[in-house]
Every structure is written in structure tokens, then in C-alpha cells.
Symmetry: C2
Subunit: 155 residues, 2 copies
């Protein structure tokens, strides 16, 4: 599966009142190399191992493979991860026929809020809410794998 | 789960006539860092993703976590792996109440044959067949993750 995602900075808290779900996420990386990131994520009551390949040249598409695992297994694997565990709240906000995933980071990345939208094709259009700011699609610094190594507070 | 394994070089082909199973293995690594190796393996008709932690100080025990995945998924993930895909035949040889896994390497590691035995504890005893040579337990060069980066033919 290849995913097409666009990523934006968020300018205000206004998205919170529109959110239909909020979940605590704790995640770490067994590899932060952008050619083959390996992520362990505890997402509320579920956990996943996710492998992502390198981005296409325009930064829009990327190989992604995900497998659900037990939360207890994930907690053991998080102990092996590279330093820089990420904690964030993920809000889901409906936007016509798309869904925005809005991540509010904590800890070393406090102050950073990123909205991501998954599209069906590279031409797919969507409505941009007022709280959506600058596009940062394809900017490696905003990859969670990079935020775990170079957190926002050190930028 | 922590595994206790001892590893030996193999001096002759004599093990082949004692083997009760032979399976072709193709494997690659999404991370070869010994602190958190991530291995993709196609093992005959099955496939697995395996994460291993760093060895204990005496080299005998190591955290290991394994998940079965689809062969087709594994083949896609192998394409993302670091250069240095390993191909080998694994022979299983019964030895009283233990089993030796004997790996005969091909390609860049041709000429190397390694026998591994899994033990119940660090004190567990076993009979050593005549074809078993020098012990190499804990010698990083013989880790498959290292053989994929520094193959035997370049030693």
C-alpha cells in the first residue's frame, strides 16, 4: 500500500471543538532512517508495528505496511526503541468526505500541532479549514521519526 | 522472551545425512544495529518479522520478538531492506532432547556453515556431534545482521 498524505501546521486550537475523537498516542522507532522507518505505536487500547519506505520525489506518496500487535508486546518493544519516545494526542476532525488527523505533541515537541489528510490520489481536492496553516508535506523535519531525534524545542 | 543460544562453526558436511528437514531461507534487515535488529525472513512457505535486542554481557541471552506475516508482505518488505539479502539452507538435526539449526550460506557468504542450539538455561548441557567445531557464541561477526553488511567472502 502506498499512502498519499498532505501535512500542514495548525494555527489555532479551533480544531478541538470540531473533533469527534481524541486518542493518546505513545510511539518510538526501531529505525528512524527515512528509507525504512520502523515504528512501534500504542494508540489508546491498540498497538501497531508500522514500516514506511522513502517518500516519492514530490514527497506525496510513501510505501506503508502496518500490523496490529498486542499492547504488552508494543510496550516491550518500546524499551528497545531509539531514544526520543513521542507522546501526543491525536484528534480526528471530519471535513466533508475526508478526515483530518491533528496531532498535538507533548514533552520535547510541545508547541507543535500538525494536521494530516489522506487523499485518494495526488489530484484529490479538499476544503481547507481556517485553522489549517502552512503546508509542510515532504519536509523531513516534521516526520515523527525526525522529531524523535531532533525535537521541536531544539529547533 | 529471552533466548539462550550457543553458536558453533561446522567442520564437515556430515550433519546433512542426520538432518530431518531442509528449508530455504531468504532474509534481509530493516535495521542491522545490534541494539535493535529488525529482520524480515521468508522461510519456505512462511514469513516472519523478528526484532532482537542487544546481547547480554556474556553473549548468551538476547530479547527476541517474532510475528508471522504473509509471504507476499515479506517480499515487499525485503525490497526496503538494507543491501545484503542473505540466502541460506537451514538443516534441522535432532541431538537427543535438543535440535541443532545448521545454516549453510550461499552467495556472498558461501563457505560459511554455522550450527546453533537453543538451550533452556545458561547451565543446560548437550552432546557435541563430531561435525561441530569452534564455538563463536557472542562473536558479532557471525550475526546474520553483520553478515549482510560484511559478508564472509570479504573477511
Amino acid at each position: 500500500m502506498t499512502e498519499i498524505e498532505r501535512k500542514f501546521l495548525v494555527k489555532s486550537d479551533a480544531f478541538k471543538s470540531d473533533a469527534y475523537q481524541k486518542t493518546r498516542i505513545v510511539q518510538g522507532f526501531l529505525n528512524t532512517n527515512p528509507e525504512r522507518t520502523v515504528r512501534i505505536r500504542v494508540n489508546g487500547p491498540q498497538a501497531f508495528l508500522t514500516v514506511k519506505g522513502k517518500s516519492s520525489e514530490n514527497g506525496l506518496s510513501r510505501f506503508e505496511w502496518e500490523k496490529e500487535i498486542e499492547v504488552e508486546e508494543a510496550e516491550n518493544l518500546l524499551k528497545l526503541c531509539e531514544p526520543g519516545i513521542i507522546e501526543k494526542d491525536r484528534y480526528l476532525v471530519k471535513n466533508q468526505d475526508h478526515i483530518f488527523e491533528v496531532d498535538e505533541f507533548h514533552g520535547q515537541n510541545k508547541g507543535l500541532i500538525i494536521a494530516e489528510i489522506e487523499l485518494k490520489s495526488e489530484e484529490d481536492k479538499f476544503l481547507k479549514p481556517l485553522w489549517v496553516g502552512e503546508e509542510v508535506t515532504g519536509d523531513n523535519r516534521y516526520y515523527n521519526s525526525q522529531l524523535s531525534k531532533k525535537p521541536y524545542k531544539n529547533w
